[in-house]
Structure formats: structure tokens, C-alpha cells
């Protein structure tokens, strides 16, 4: 598996990576952003070599897969951690494609605007019910 060519989603993800790269090179990033940029660049390099590198803890986010696919669609959305076993340190969201051997980075958390505001809007994710949950919902007496 790999190496994968890494491309970035347009427009925000591309703009953010360009900003962090240029800021890092010019030394204009603050300490926190410099730390984030370092972790992000390392994660991208690991992702390119092996999307399931143990340090990334890559896993599918089923609710996002469902959001961007029709039921049964196969374009899975994955999240990888920027810091080993520390989801709060940041997450990178990605999908395979658009071409074979490519990975597209589609999202980053924390979002650059959220880093400026402590209290920012969050959304609760949802997922398709499992077959067992459907069985209970459609015939609650069956499992009583």
C-alpha cells in the first residue's frame, strides 16, 4: 500500500495548508500554530506512506460516509489523528480518490476560525441504524 499522492480539497483546506506552510517557512506563525503545522505535516507524510499508519489511528466516520454517499455508496470518509491517541489534538478528514493512488484531504479540526473562538458551534453526527436496531424499531415486541 502507498505511497499515495496527497491532494487537498478546495477551497478552504487548500488555503489553510498553504497558509500554514508559508507561515511556517516565514516564521510568522504563533507557537500554537507552529505546533499544529508540524503535527499536520507529519500526519500528511505518514498518510502518504500508509493511510493506516498506527500513529494516525485512521478510522471511518460512518455518519460522514453516509452524508456524502447514497445508501450503499463506497466513498468512505476517514479521520486520522494528528497526535497519537489524542483526538483532541486535531483530526484530519480524508477520502480516497478522485484518481487511483490519490488521497484527498477534505477537512481539518480544529478549523482555523474555531481556534480563535473558544465557544464555537458543533454538530452532532448521526448514523444509519444497524439491522438489530431496525428490527427493534419496526417490531418492538419481537425482542421484549
Amino acid at each position: 500500500m502507498g505511497p499515495f499522492e496527497i491532494v487537498v480539497g478546495l477551497p478552504e483546506m487548500d488555503a489553510e495548508i498553504t497558509r500554514l506552510r508559508q507561515g511556517f517557512t516565514a516564521g510568522t506563525l504563533g507557537k500554537e500554530e507552529q505546533r499544529l503545522a508540524r503535527k499536520l505535516f507529519k500526519a500528511i507524510a505518514n498518510l502518504s506512506r500508509n493511510p493506516f499508519h498506527p500513529g494516525l489511528q485512521s478510522h471511518e466516520i460512518a455518519s460522514l460516509t453516509a452524508r456524502y454517499n447514497k445508501p450503499g455508496g463506497k466513498n468512505k470518509v476517514f479521520a486520522s489523528y494528528l497526535e497519537n491517541n489524542t483526538p483532541a489534538a486535531g483530526r484530519l478528514f480524508w477520502v480516497y480518490g478522485p484518481a487511483r493512488g490519490r488521497i484527498t484531504l477534505v477537512g481539518l479540526e480544529p478549523h482555523p476560525e474555531d481556534r480563535k473562538n473558544a465557544g464555537y458551534a458543533r454538530v452532532q453526527l448521526s448514523r444509519m441504524p444497524t439491522l438489530a436496531e431496525i428490527a427493534v424499531a419496526t417490531n418492538p415486541r419481537r425482542l421484549r
Binding site: Q34, K42, S48, R122, S126
Partner: protein, 87 residues
């Protein structure tokens, strides 16, 4: 394969709403099509949350990627060199 277990007609009320009887789930994802038909998919809320801005970032990136619009490939060696650079 899904089986139809009930079928009925509904009438839109004055506030452009209608009631789905016997809805088995608390949440549904609804798709509205330009020919007037609707699709509903049951959803269950999970504990995971995501920044609204990150979700909007992903919405636009996924829409553009689907249309074949993505940024230029990243220079991985250059990024790794920056990550390993001394302070």
C-alpha cells in the same frame, strides 16, 4: 430487500408540512428531489460531534472533489522537512 409494510396518502397543511404516521425512528435524513419526490433514511444520533465550520469545509471540498476539482499534489518531502526542522 425492503418490504412495504404500509402505504398511505398525505395532504400538505397550510404551513407546508405533512405527517408521516407510524414513523419508527426519531430522526430521519431527508432528500428532496427536483421532481417533487422525497426520500427518508432513518438516522440515529451518535455521541461524536464535529465543528460546524469543519463540516462546511468538508461539504465544499467533497462537492468540488466530486466535480474533479482538487488542489495540486502536495510535496510530501518538503512538508516532512518542515516538520523535522529545528525551531
Amino acid at each position: 430487500m425492503s418490504t412495504i409494510i404500509s402505504e398511505f396518502d398525505v395532504k400538505r397543511d397550510e404551513r407546508k408540512r405533512f405527517t408521516i404516521r407510524e414513523a419508527q425512528f426519531e430522526h430521519y435524513h431527508v432528500r428532496v428531489f427536483d421532481d417533487g419526490h422525497l426520500e427518508l433514511y432513518p438516522r440515529i444520533l451518535s455521541d461524536a460531534t464535529l465543528s460546524l465550520r469543519t463540516l462546511e469545509m468538508m461539504d465544499s471540498a467533497m462537492g468540488n472533489a466530486r466535480a474533479g476539482r482538487v488542489g495540486a499534489p502536495l510535496d510530501i518531502a518538503a512538508l516532512e522537512a518542515l516538520a523535522d526542522a529545528e525551531d
